[in-house]
């Protein structure tokens, strides 16, 4: 009894000492909802819960962008691909690599703290597409991240000290995590990677204070669960049915709904898993507190092509209707009603798509060509876009004022033939043989287009496709980076390249913009690597060295 009493008193004292200083610097739930309206901080992945990556700042603009120069640089001391999304709060910038989490002084770029992430040396075996990490979430004085070996970690934002660490699952069975977590309605939400390793995908909610797992929603139903009727093989294909959830979802606080995309069903051999294979290649609307599914929409039923539907779900209002928009790997641009999941529009956003002619707006299903039928039947096919997608993970920007989407797209096809997969834990479970079909000219295009019609406004072709995120600003500018190291700015109206600066290593990071003491800055991570570098074997990159840095730019007078 005495022991208990003493403990209780101690706990109360500890709680007290934490609460007082925090109220000054907390990123409360309300702060997160307001993110995007205060230019001095970046508190949510994608610059606002709606992930538009559009900023109302215009101090850097068409008139002065030519005078954009580096303000400071910070070495990430790492040679992998750098995809981190920089977060900003209270004078500090928070960035990640697969191997460390860092807080930097916003004014100088000097390191405030660095906390190493340790994971077993075999872990990279289960990372198909790059040893990467996409950044942190901030909430109430803590910094949250995921690790390659599928742990979720909370650090003290002031010191970097580990507060808790929870294992999600055993990486040896092909599971990994690269996602930046999302805080929604006070719950820390993450998704799993591993779609090429025969996993069963899921999205999870954690208590940000304790690391306790609150819920796990599998993206592939077990027999008897809703959706299981779309797995008609009658066997246990669902156990290795894929449906990873490796990119951060968005959140509508008013509807209190989280939107999260899921990846391909596995193996790729669709003939072996007859049925639509819910909820792979789908967009899910979830209750953040329970993980319960409010609605779902599947983009590619019985997908044979690795058409992940994980890409970012950007919020917009179109004709007074709240929607989410996604540039899907499969070449179509989906616009769905945020409340009901109803399909509003689905134009093509790239030039060459041959697996389907269109998306039927009444049924919501693709009108497929014989390419899809043949692929399922095990015949060799040449399909467009390739498994890399019309657009891969690199997030697009949406300017709501001009109703324009800016996205880095691929011009790549694929030769493909389904074969019998062999399951071995932690080893690729493709069930297909494939090779790339490269075009004669440019393999990538930065495209500006109308989301509803897909109508192209302009494009900027590039020999080696861009895999960096895009940022749009009211300064009339669009920022992105290319694989050979240029950080670039385009005229948002005309597509003319108005500025670029070579950062010394290729860019696959995510640009952000922010303000400090009344001055506007732009930040991006460089560091070549990840999926294109690994899978393409593009030897033109031989002269682009690895090595990541955080680059921050501002206009010089």
């Amino acid at each position: 009894m005495i022991k208990k009493f003493a403990w209780g008193a101690f706990a109360a004292a500890v709680a007290f000492s934490f609460v007082t200083p925090q109220t000054a610097s907390a990123q409360s739930a309300q702060d997160l909802i307001n993110d995007g309206s205060d230019p001095t901080s970046i508190l949510t992945y994608g610059m606002g819960y709606g992930q538009t990556r559009h900023s109302a700042m215009n101090a850097i603009n068409l008139d002065n962008v030519s005078r954009l120069r580096p303000e400071w640089t910070y070495s990430l001391a790492d040679s992998r691909g750098q995809e981190t999304f920089p977060m900003i709060h209270d004078g500090k910038m928070y960035v990640t690599t697969h191997a460390a989490t860092m807080a930097l002084d916003l004014a100088t770029g000097m390191q405030v703290w660095k906390t190493i992430v340790e994971y077993p040396a075999e872990t990279p075996r289960v990372a198909c597409c790059g040893i990467v990490n996409r950044g942190v979430a901030l909430y109430e004085g803590k910094v949250f991240r995921t690790t390659l070996d599928a742990h979720v970690v909370a650090l003290d934002a002031a010191t970097g000290a580990e507060v808790w660490r929870t294992k999600s699952i055993d990486f040896k069975d092909g599971y990994s995590m690269t996602v930046a977590p999302l805080i929604a309605d006070g719950v820390l939400i993450t998704g799993i990677s591993g779609g090429e390793y025969g996993i069963r995908g899921y999205i999870e909610g954690y208590d940000p204070n304790t690391g306790e797992r609150l819920w796990r929603t599998y993206t592939i139903p077990a027999p008897g669960e809703p959706g299981s009727e779309t797995w008609k093989d009658g066997g246990d294909a669902w156990k290795r049915g894929g449906g990873p959830a490796w990119l951060t979802g968005s959140y509508d606080a008013e509807l209190n709904t989280v939107y999260w995309g899921t990846g391909n069903p596995s193996s790729w051999n669709a003939g072996l898993r007859p049925g639509d294979n819910l909820y792979a290649s789908s967009i899910l609307a979830l209750d953040p507190k329970t993980g319960a599914m409010k609605w779902h929409y599947q983009t590619t039923p019985n997908d044979p092509f690795d058409y992940d539907t994980t890409n970012e779900l950007v919020h917009a209002e179109i004709d007074g209707r709240k929607v989410i928009m996604q540039a899907n790997r499969n070449g179509f641009f989906y616009i769905l009603d945020r409340e009901t999941g109803e399909l509003v529009a689905a134009p093509k956003f790239i030039d060459k798509v041959n697996w389907a002619d269109s998306i039927d707006l009444t049924t919501g299903r693709p009108v497929e060509t014989e390419v899809a039928t043949k692929a399922r039947a095990g015949e060799e096919v040449n399909y467009w876009p390739s498994a890399l997608g019309g657009k891969n993970w690199s997030p697009m920007a949406y300017n709501p004022n001009t109703n324009t989407v800016f996205a880095n797209t691929n011009v790549i096809g694929m030769n493909y033939k389904a074969v019998e997969p062999q399951y071995r834990p932690g080893v690729f479970y493709f069930g297909a043989e494939f090779s790339w079909d490269w075009p004669e000219g440019d393999r990538g295009e930065l495209r500006a287009f109308d989301p509803v019609t897909g109508e192209l406004k302009w494009k900027d072709g590039v020999a080696i496709p861009r895999y960096s995120g895009v940022l749009s600003t009211d300064g009339g500018l669009v920022f992105t980076g290319n694989m050979t190291g240029d950080f670039e700015a385009f005229n948002a109206e005309t597509g003319e390249k108005v500025w670029s600066y070579n950062t010394g290593s290729g860019i696959v990071g995510q640009p952000v913009t922010w303000e400090r003491d009344g001055k506007q800055y732009v930040t991006i991570a460089n560091g070549v690597g990840a999926v294109y570098t690994l899978f393409s074997g593009d030897e033109r990159l031989a002269s682009v060295p690895t090595g990541g840095n955080i680059w921050t730019f501002s206009v010089v007078e």
Binding site: T210, E212, V427, F428, T533, G537, L541
Partner: protein
């Protein structure tokens, strides 16, 4: 057609365990798909890659199969090791792919044993590879475990400590101990705490693990709190919970038994069952198995006259003071009392209750390679008297483990009938 042949061959390969290839094309096809399955996503399609973030395999010398095997099986720099996944045939196929420069420079298939097939690591090497801190065996031991384990200024003492040290010596390694102390929270039981310590990898092994049905199976799907230990980080509060994992145990090295302790002057009979204590004033440790057995298997008269006290070190001290004359207690509790009180009037009868628990060493299920080293060592140490010597050194009355290794679930029926 070629693909079909390859598939049939592949099936044969599985059946006979040795590569039998009909023609070069089929071999190459198989080599290519093996390369794609394991290596292409880092080394590039057809081994073409920019060479900036991994090695350019086209440059690997054609006469160095052995170096290739070593790097691939054991890993090198940023490249993970593949030895635990690849089949021996697959290594030969990968070598074929590299040596033929992805088929551009044909060469005969080389399945010669020029490279010894990847040797399985010896049990000791496998066990070593699983240790939490390379080069050290880390054990969790109870800080106040009486004659079983207790902390000293340097190292420790007690039977479980000695056993841990002996097992570390089997691996030819020093022992490091995490001394833990039970939180004695309502929901936590000692067994759950041991599961939590292992799952959080506070240590590699926990000696002193009693084998009974539920201790081996009941917990791993849940979560549990960690007890305190000497180097526990401050930020891991009491509310912190760990996902439990299945555990594995060694063969037992000792047996925990219950015996009758009496005041020297008082025992005037030979005891063969609990009821034989009738006529003596009996002490009962409340809520313990020994206490329940005393009440259930003793006579009614004994029970009526018994003194019931809280369990713990004070219990035998009360007996020393004359509160009662005899009691059934765990032998270890008696040993500890004797150790604490050199001058004691208490004695332990030779009688042992048939119900007892074998004691083994627990570890995570996925680290059970250690068992392959520890099981034979334990058998040997029982056989050659090492464990008896360690017990003597610890002032612990040793009993060898007895079959069945794992005590079945205890029902009231067993408690009444097992005399």
């Amino acid at each position: 057609m070629i693909a079909r042949t390859a598939r049939i061959l592949c099936a044969m390969l599985v059946l006979f365990g040795a590569p039998v290839f009909a023609d070069d094309a089929a071999i190459f096809k198989k080599a290519e798909s093996t390369y794609k399955m394991f290596c292409a996503h880092c080394h590039g399609p057809k081994m073409v890659n920019p060479g900036t973030s991994s090695f350019d395999l086209r440059k690997w010398p054609k006469d160095n199969k052995e170096g290739f095997a070593t790097s691939v099986l054991k890993g090198k720099g940023d490249m993970p090791a593949w030895g635990d996944i690849l089949l021996p045939e697959e290594l030969d196929l990968l070598w074929h792919y590299v040596k033929t420069r992805a088929g551009k420079e044909p060469e005969p298939f080389d399945s010669s044993q020029a490279v010894p097939p990847p040797q399985k690591d010896t049990p000791i090497e496998q066990a070593k590879a699983q240790l939490k801190t390379p080069g050290t065996l880390t054990a969790c031991l109870a800080k106040n475990g009486g004659v079983m384990s207790s902390r000293r200024a340097t190292g420790g003492a007690g039977m479980d400590y000695e056993v841990a040290a002996a097992l570390a010596a089997e691996l030819d390694m020093p022992l490091d101990v995490r001394w833990f102390e039970s939180e004695q929270e309502e929901e936590s039981t000692p067994i759950r705490e041991i599961y939590a310590l292992l799952a959080y990898e506070v240590c590699d092994i926990v000696p002193g693990f009693a084998l009974y049905e539920t201790s081996l199976s009941a917990f791993y799907q849940t979560r549990a709190a960690l007890p305190r230990w000497d180097t526990k980080p401050d930020h891991l509060g009491m509310e912190f919970q760990v996902d439990l994992e299945p555990i594995s145990v060694t063969d037992p090295y000792a047996r925990m038994e219950m015996g009758v302790v009496y005041r020297t002057a008082d025992l005037d009979r030979s005891i063969e069952k609990i009821a034989d204590m009738e006529g003596l004033k009996i002490g009962v440790e409340q809520g313990t198995l020994a206490g329940v057995l005393t009440l259930r298997q003793g006579t009614e008269a004994m029970a009526l006259d018994a003194v019931t006290l809280n369990p713990g070190p004070d219990f035998l001290w009360e007996m020393e003071q004359g509160s009662f004359d005899a009691a059934l207690v765990t032998v270890g509790a008696y040993d500890f009392h004797k150790k604490q009180n050199f001058i004691s009037t208490l004695a332990l009868d030779e009688y042992r209750h048939p119900l007892g628990f074998n004691i083994s060493v627990a570890m995570l299920g996925r680290k059970k390679a250690m068992r392959d080293v520890f099981d034979p060592a334990i058998a040997r140490m029982i056989e050659d008297g090492t464990l008896q010597d360690l017990a003597d050194k610890s002032q612990y009355t040793y009993a060898k483990p007895r079959q069945p290794w794992v005590q079945a679930h205890l029902t009231m029926q067993t408690i009444i009938s097992m005399r």
